[in-house]
Subunit: 224 residues, 2 copies
């Protein structure tokens, strides 16, 4: 077990109540009268709001349905486990020997739960704004590219991954036409799979139109 | 359309930005470049955290799974619509004539969405603590009996409602035994349906044991 001060340094936060920190790091297997499950419940809601608010401000023109999808891409066990790993959180968790022997210190669910519990604990003793600051610092450090372009870029990448693994196909993009006055040029793009048009989109740049066509294709494939 | 000041009085909150208030009250049918859907997304997360935190403090000994269930009983369209009705919120919502003719001003989904959007708007301009204060004031005014006893009492009531409507049966409670020293008396209760034992529980009082047996029965019936 490493010294908890090390973890506090990484979080850039000093717990006023050290018992609360220990509480947040205690897995139920440790067989104490307390475990981090209730704090995890609280932290889960804190993180939902932190990320929801972050996306609300970042993507001012996106519909609420898109915000929900973006949030789901960030608020999940996998991404929280990644953040937890960056803090080396597994080495700080109190767990039973058998859980430890079972690989507990690197289990995504355990790591993600402890991260949520930590954020819940900060919210509890220092309020939402402080918890938000720490959560955003951790999220942005691990996901530095959460910006509109990158999340949009994901559509093409994501589609290609799926079509390659499921159909052995790479999507092709064909520019059908460019139209409109020079200062308001529009591009219409067709996305083809196995040589046949699968979706189509129009935007101010070819790149953007490709991304939109990929997004439509992902929706058709019911993976978005 | 009533004057918005009236609504602000009911909320005990004066919006700094009146446009934000209008935004929160604008249903998408109103065909403006904006609607309250994004604010609803934000408010939904605010309310989840507000209620989660409230229950966390109120039920200090309940497991995280029970907290989730309690939250689900409070954070839903039906209860938010009830709160919205208490504010007469329907009369303040901007909506299309056809939505209005369609009963929009009293639609639970529309009312609940507008309430969430209002709370989201307060969070946006005045922060979480202010939004929390308003939300808790509204929730406690409409659900004055959110306390452990009452929520536990709900198990018996809920079970009876279900067994009466589905089986035409009323659960019966039989005290099987009382045991233990006087200062630590325990009561074992059997819950019977159609004369047969359906669940059993032990607690420090008959009442509590009955509630626990009802809870177990609800879980067996898969309604909890």
């Amino acid at each position: 077990m490493k010294k908890l001060e090390l973890l506090e340094k990484k979080l850039k936060y000093k717990f006023k109540n050290q018992n609360l920190l220990i509480h947040a790091l205690t897995h139920k297997s440790f067989k104490k009268p307390y475990s981090n499950e209730r704090l995890e419940f609280l932290g889960d809601a804190v993180l939902d709001l932190v990320v929801g608010e972050f996306l609300f401000h970042k993507f001012k023109n996106d519909a609420e349905g898109d915000l929900s999808k973006l949030r789901a891409a960030l608020v999940n066990e996998k991404s929280f486990a990644k953040i937890a790993l960056s803090l080396d959180l597994g080495t700080f968790i109190f767990m039973s020997a058998s859980e430890e022997n079972n690989g507990g210190r690197s289990k995504p669910s355990l790591l993600s739960d402890a991260l949520e519990a930590l954020i819940g604990a900060v919210h509890l003793e220092s309020g939402f704004e402080t918890a938000k600051e720490i959560a955003l610092f951790l999220i942005q450090k691990n996901y530095p590219n959460i910006d509109a372009k990158n999340l949009i870029k994901d559509y093409k990448t994501k589609l290609q991954e799926i079509t390659q693994s499921k159909m052995g196909q790479t999507p092709e993009y064909e520019t059908l036409r460019a139209f409109g006055p020079d200062h308001q040029k529009q591009f219409e793009i067709a996305l083809k799979l196995e040589g046949k048009e699968y979706s189509r989109a129009t935007a101010k740049s070819k790149k953007e139109a490709q991304q939109m066509a990929a997004k439509i294709a992902l929706e058709k494939l019911e993976v978005l």
